[in-house]
C-alpha cells in the first residue's frame, strides 16, 4: 500500500503553486515536508488529501487512481496548526466522533477511544471539554481524533507550531512513537530543519512550489543534491563562498587552498560555490597548527550565547557567515577572528546550484 503522486501539479490562475511533482510514500513511513512559509507544503498536502484537484498528473492510492475523488471518500485524517476540536462535547466524544460516523458498535468505539486516549496521555481528561485543556492537550485531542479514525493517510500541517517551545519538544519525541504503532502513512509539514531531523523517516525539501529532494532524512541533510536543498535544510543557514578548482587543488578566497582529493578529485577545473554548515566552523587558537584546515579572517558582528553553545555571526568580506561553537565563547563584536574549516566538511556546488561534490565526511558516512 502506498500513496503515489505522478507528475502532480497545481496552478491557480497564472501562478504555479506546485510544480510537477512525483513522489512515492510507502505504508508505515513518516514523511516530512520541509520548507519555509509559502513554499507549497500546505498546497501539496491539500492535493494528497483530495481537498484540491491537481491541474495535471495523477494520484494513486493503494493501486487505485484517486485523482478526482473527494476527501470524504478517502481514508484521510488531517491535523492543523490551529487546535481544531468540537468545543461543546467532551474529549471522549471528540475522539469518538469519527468512529460514530463510521457506524461502529458502542463497544468497539469505547475500546478504540480508550486505547488512543491512553497513547496520547488523555485518559484522565476524557470527560473535560476541549476549551478547559491547555494548548498541548487540545492538540493531543486533535491528534487522537486523527489517529482513531484508522486512516491510511495522516496529514499533519505544522501541528506543533502554536505550542510552547518545551511542549513542542516533548510532543516531537512522542509523535514518532505513536506513528510506529499505527502503520499509516504520515505526512508532516514543518519549517524547522531540527524538527525534520528529530522526526526522522523521509524528508522532502520544498522551495517555491518545487520538491528539491526526497529521501531518508539524514541522507537529505548530509547529501543535499543542490544548494537550495542545503539552504532549506540548515538552521542556522548554510554559509557560502566562491571556490576555484585548478588542477589538483581547490582555491578558496584569501589564498587558502586544499588538496582536491576524495570526492573533490573528479571535479573539472572551473569556478564553483563552496558551502559549509555553522557547526563545522572552529575558531583558531593562536599558536595551534592549522593542520590542513582552511583559515579565514572574519570580523565578528554579533555573538549569541545559549549557554550550551555560542552562535557567532561573522562578516567575511561582505558575506555573512554563522558559526556554532560549543560552550560559552566571550568574543566581543568587532573582534577580528581567524576561523578554521576542515575541507572534509565542504560541499561544492556548481554555478547553477547543483551539487558537484558532496562533503567528504558525509560521503563516507
Amino acid at each position: 500500500m502506498a500513496l503515489e503522486l505522478i507528475g502532480v501539479s497545481k496552478e491557480v490562475g497564472a501562478r504555479t503553486h506546485i510544480a510537477p511533482t512525483s513522489l512515492v510514500l510507502e505504508k508505515g513511513t513518516m514523511n516530512v515536508l520541509l520548507g519555509p512559509t509559502l513554499s507549497g507544503k500546505t498546497s501539496l498536502m491539500r492535493l494528497m488529501a483530495g481537498l484540491d484537484v491537481p491541474t495535471a498528473g495523477r494520484i494513486i492510492w493503494d493501486g487505485k487512481d484517486v485523482t478526482g475523488m473527494r476527501v470524504q471518500d478517502r481514508k484521510v485524517a488531517m491535523v492543523y496548526q490551529q487546535f481544531i476540536n468540537y468545543p461543546s462535547i467532551s474529549v471522549y466524544d471528540n475522539i469518538a466522533s469519527p468512529l460514530r460516523l463510521q457506524r461502529k458498535s458502542k463497544a468497539e468505539i469505547d475500546s478504540a477511544v480508550r486505547a488512543t486516549a491512553e497513547m496520547m496521555k488523555l485518559t484522565p481528561l476524557l470527560q473535560r471539554k476541549p476549551l478547559e485543556l491547555s494548548g498541548g492537550q487540545q492538540q493531543r485531542c486533535a491528534l487522537a481524533r486523527a489517529l482513531v479514525k484508522g486512516a491510511g493517510l495522516v496529514l499533519l500541517d505544522e501541528p506543533l507550531a502554536n505550542l510552547d517551545y518545551k511542549l513542542r519538544e516533548e510532543l516531537r519525541t512522542e509523535i514518532p512513537k505513536i506513528f510506529e504503532a499505527s502503520g499509516a502513512i504520515f505526512v508532516y509539514a514543518t519549517t524547522e530543519p531540527e524538527e525534520a531531523l528529530l522526526l526522522g523517516g523521509n524528508t522532502a525539501t520544498l522551495w517555491e512550489g518545487r520538491v528539491t529532494q526526497f529521501g531518508p532524512t539524514p541522507l537529505v541533510y548530509r547529501q543535499p543534491k543542490d544548494a537550495t536543498t542545503a539552504r532549506v535544510f540548515s538552521d542556522p543557514p548554510m554559509n557560502f563562498l566562491p571556490v576555484t578548482k585548478a588542477g589538483a587543488r581547490l582555491l578558496f578566497g584569501e589564498g587558502q587552498n586544499a588538496p582536491a582529493g576524495g570526492t573533490f578529485a573528479g571535479i573539472p577545473d572551473g569556478r564553483y560555490l563552496a558551502g559549509f554548515r555553522a557547526n563545522h566552523i572552529e575558531i583558531a587558537r593562536p599558536g595551534t597548527p592549522a593542520g590542513g584546515a582552511l583559515e579565514f579572517r572574519c570580523t565578528l558582528a554579533v555573538t549569541e550565547i545559549t549557554g550550551s553553545e555560542t552562535f557567532v555571526h561573522l562578516d567575511h568580506g561582505g558575506d555573512r557567515w554563522v558559526g556554532l561553537l560549543p560552550g560559552v565563547q566571550d568574543y566581543v563584536a568587532g573582534d577580528e577572528l581567524t576561523i578554521r574549516l576542515d575541507p572534509a566538511f565542504v560541499y561544492v556546488f556548481g554555478e547553477d546550484g547543483a551539487l558537484v561534490a558532496s562533503a567528504p565526511y558525509a560521503a563516507a558516512a
Binding site: V53, K64, D65, V66, T67, G68, M69
Partner: protein, 291 residues
Amino acid sequence: MDKPVNNKAWFLVLPVLVLVAFSAVIPLMTVVNYSVQDTFGNNVFFWAGLEWFEQALSSSRLHDALLRQILFSVIILAIQVPLGIFVALNMPKRGFWASLCLVLMALPLLIPWNVVGTIWQIFGRVDIGLLGYTLDKLGINYNYTANAIDAWVTVIVMDVWHWTSLVALLCYAGLQSIPDAYYQAAKIDQASRWKVFRYIELPKMQGVLLIAILLRFMDSFMIYTEPFVVTGGGPGNATTFLSIDLVKMAIGQFDLGPAAAFSIMYFLVIMLISWVFYTVMTNLDKREEMQ
C-alpha cells in the same frame, strides 16, 4: 476507481432554477409583456411598442419623482452612515451593557414596515400624538399633512429611527474584529482619537460599511410602505417617491402599460446604481491591495 469531476451536480441546482423562474423571471416577463402593449380592459391587448417607455422618459411627473427619490436616498445615507458609525464607536465593547445595547438596537429592525408607519403617523399627529402635541405646545407650527418640509422631516426622522441600527450593528461587528493590540499600539504611538478612527477603525470597517451603504441605498430607493402610511405621498406630491408614484399609476389609474414600462426602468436604475457602487468600492479595495 476512476471518478473524475462529473456533471450530475447540475441536477441539484435544478430546484433552485425552477424556483427562481417562478418567483422572479416569470413575473418580470409579465411586466415586460405589459410594457409593450396597450389595453382597454377585457383582456384585449394592442401592440404599443416602445411608446410607454418614451412617454415615461419624457414625463415630468416621473422626473420629479426620481429627483425626490434621489434627494431622499442621499439625505438618508448622509445621516445614517455617520450616525451609525458614531453609535457603533460609542457602544460598550463587552459585558452586560453590550448585550443590552444590541437588543435595544435590534428592536426597530424587528417592527414591520407598516407598523413603523402607523406608529409615526400617530406619533406626529398634533391632536393625539406625543411628538406633534409637544411641538405644537412649544409653539412650533408642525403639521406633516399640510407642510411639505414637515412631511419630509417626519419621513426622514422615521427612516433614521428605523434603520440606523442596521448600519450601527454592521459597523459594530467590524469594530469587534479589531484585536486589542491595535489600540494598545495606537496609545503607545500617541495617536489621537481621530487618527485611531482614521487609520485603524475605518479601514477595518470598510468591508461592512460597503455592505451597509449598499443595503441602505437600495432599501431607501425602494421605500414605499412607511411614507405611504404616514403621508400617502402628500401633501400634494411632496413625498411621492418612485414606488408610491408607480403604485398610484398602476393601481390608482390602472395605467398598466406605462406602469410596467416605468417598473422596468426603475428596476434597471437600481441595478445600475448598485452595480456601479459595488464595482467602484471593490476596485478601490483592490487597488490598495495591489500597491
